[in-house]
């Protein structure tokens, strides 16, 4: 956060950008702070987000896809859907824009030490879960956790993000990495079927475990009963919400779910917390 004003973005440069999908709707950005002091002060946790700011267009809240273990550069994957995200897609490497954050609570990974971790991701909601996975699998952290399972699905192979990293995870013995697409297609060498189905076959034990879940509403709707049938408690399931935001610091009043602000109290809530809030998200 900028000490001068919480509304003031820190200047950054686009270091690299690639379109992730053939329809060019998703683009992944490498981002470097112009001022090394800003880079040092930007201390974030997996699951947090930032407001990406393009002068003249505005800001959009985007989950941080990189892990702090990866160095000072940040990674964001942005879906082109509105004014700001279109402006972000139009940036070229070397261009300046702004980052305001880190914002939100993030996944409580420090509190989950000693547990088995099941990560469930769908579509491009995988972004902050990529961050969590990279952090968990970092040599400094891996030994502090039990079994780590990564379930990730998308409609088709070209919609799966971060193939470079999860292909590496598949080679590792200390992570169970299951990647799936909705329908079989030529050349596909991993699983076929919806995420809830894969999860059901996997049948992760709730014993001393926690699940981090982020994905489209349909995936969430059908995955939660699978956890429930396996005996998981609502306190063990961590979900990340998104809502329209402006300030990102709990002042502007629009992203609330009941008395909680997604920007400040969230975006990560346990299912137990969400069960006590009005179903308005």
């Amino acid at each position: 956060m900028n000490p001068a004003s919480p509304y003031l973005p820190l200047p950054v440069r686009l270091t690299k950008a690639r379109f992730d999908t053939p329809d060019k709707s998703l683009r992944t950005f490498g981002v470097a702070f112009e001022d090394p002091a800003h880079a040092a002060s930007f201390r974030y946790r997996p699951g947090q987000f930032a407001e990406l700011s393009v002068a003249g267009f505005g800001e959009a809240p985007i989950g941080i896809a990189s892990s702090p273990t990866e160095g000072p550069e940040l990674l964001f994957t942005v879906s082109r859907i509105g004014v700001v995200t279109s402006a972000l897609h139009a940036l070229e490497p070397g261009d300046r824009f702004g980052v305001r954050g880190p914002l939100g609570n993030g996944y409580p990974l420090a509190e989950l030490v000693g547990k088995d971790i099941v990560v469930v991701a769908g579509g491009y909601a995988v972004t902050t879960l990529r961050s969590a996975m990279v952090w968990l699998l970092d040599p400094a952290h891996r030994a502090h956790y039990g079994r780590i399972t990564f379930v990730y699905g998308a409609r088709s192979p070209e919609l799966l993000l971060y193939q470079d990293v999860w292909r590496q995870w598949m080679q590792r013995a200390d992570v169970d990495c299951r990647v799936t697409i909705d329908n079989a297609c030529q050349g596909w060498d991993c699983l076929v079927g919806f995420v809830p189905r894969v999860l059901k076959d996997l049948a992760p034990s709730p014993e001393n475990a926690a699940a981090l879940v982020c994905g489209p509403p349909a995936m969430i709707r059908f995955s939660l009963p699978v956890f429930e049938d396996l005996g998981w408690q609502p306190e063990q399931i961590f979900m990340s919400l998104e809502n329209r935001m402006k300030c990102g610091i709990g002042l502007c009043g629009r992203c609330n779910v009941g008395n909680r602000y997604v920007c400040k109290d969230g975006p990560v809530f346990t299912k137990a917390e969400l069960d006590r809030l009005p179903p308005e998200y």
Binding site: A55, C247, C252
Partner: protein, 372 residues
């Protein structure tokens, strides 16, 4: 001057003129059906004959539109944002009503939550502004501050409480800022300490005025409204009450209520550019608008006016009390009651919430505590 002092009413313009030497002093001015705070003008004098300002005085701390930062769109510095400097002008708002002062003390807890969530312009404006309030001797029919933890002569949020005794005015300092302001009052003003026989009489008159004003409010058909039953039910229970569709039925989602409300503080942030320069501005927003929560994808968590109307009342009567030690997010100023074009009366809404909460099955009650 640490003590309450009595002044002749005729001294007030002189007192305000003294404060004006180093500060901008705003006073109520009545113009036809409208009352607004304007910069004190010795030529125009001072009128204490007003109910309350038509619109809330919240723009003194939270302007309807405000520049947050500036940037250029071309050249080497393109996209480099610079925070808009805070003003330095010291100010006094004279004649603010206790309900509005209470609203600002409530909003202090919204705009200055902690280190990461402090709005610099709110904090700056609050720090350099003193509030001299006047107790209400004749509350309006739409007023209900006594049901919201306030009162017509309450001092919460004020630096000085003034009591209009007719020919005289009693000034009671509340805070250090208020005491400093009292100390600046020129000796020419014929002040009498509110002690001794004559002072005691004045204090007695002030007390009578307060009791009288509260008695007037107690006679209102809406007196005795309470949030107790709402507080006892979980937010999920209050959210699911069957009353909301009927309450929202006549609402136009015009936003007059949020516009005039002293505690409504939701805002939008937008960029504006003109040629090579641009700025990021913060504007008042309203939860009555569909756009308020609409995602870029088109999805919105509050798609119809029923959800939006419910949000406004739950924010004030359930969510804010949960987050702010039981303080309601409403001060009972009555402006939304006066301004609503379809006569939605927040007091009737509160009563409906209370009745429905009393009737609601106890299941789910008191589970809120576990949330935070």
């Amino acid at each position: 001057m640490n003590d309450a002092m009595i002044f002749s009413r005729l001294d007030l313009p002189r007192i305000i003129a003294a404060w004006s030497a180093t500060r901008a002093v705003y006073v109520p001015a009545v113009s036809g059906a409208l009352t607004a705070f304007t910069l004190f003008d010795p030529e125009r004098g001072l009128s204490l004959d007003y109910g309350n300002s038509t619109l809330s005085p919240k723009p003194f701390f939270f302007p309807q539109t405000e520049c947050l930062l500036r940037f250029s769109t071309r050249g080497e510095d393109a996209g480099l944002a610079v925070a808009e400097p805070q003003g330095t002008q010291k100010r006094v708002i004279f004649g603010i009503r206790p309900c509005d002062a209470g609203a600002f003390s409530l909003l202090d807890r919204v705009f200055c939550q902690d280190k990461g969530s402090t709005d610099p312009s709110w904090a700056s404006r609050r720090a350099r502004t003193a509030l001299v309030g006047i107790g209400c001797n004749a509350p309006d029919a739409a007023c209900f501050c006594t049901s919201m933890g306030g009162g017509p002569h309450h001092a919460r949020g004020l630096d000085i409480l003034a009591t209009d005794l007719g020919d005289e005015v009693l000034l009671t300092p509340i805070t250090d800022k208020g005491r400093a302001l009292m100390a600046e009052i020129p000796a020419v003003a014929a002040a009498t300490p509110a002690r001794g026989a004559r002072g005691g009489t004045a204090l007695g008159r002030a007390e009578m005025l307060r009791i009288n004003a509260e008695a007037v409010m107690a006679r209102s058909p809406f007196s005795g409204l309470t949030l107790e039953a709402v507080a006892r039910r979980s937010q999920r229970t209050v959210h699911a009450l069957g009353i909301w569709a009927k309450i929202a039925e006549t609402c136009l989602n015009c936003g007059a209520c949020t516009f005039t409300c002293p505690t409504c503080h939701c805002f939008d942030i937008q960029d504006e550019t003109k040629g090579p320069s641009g700025r990021r501005v913060r504007n008042w927003d309203t939860c009555m608008s569909w756009l308020f929560t609409a995602h870029a994808s088109g999805h919105t968590p509050r798609p119809t006016k029923v959800e939006r109307v419910r949000q406004r009342f739950l924010h004030k009567f359930k969510y804010m009390p949960m987050n702010l030690d039981g303080r309601p997010g409403c001060v009972g100023c009555g402006r939304c009651v006066r301004q609503c074009p379809v006569n939605i009366d927040i007091r009737e809404v509160l009563r409906a919430m209370d009745v429905a909460c009393r009737a609601a099955p106890p299941s789910g009650a008191s589970r809120d505590e576990a949330v935070s």
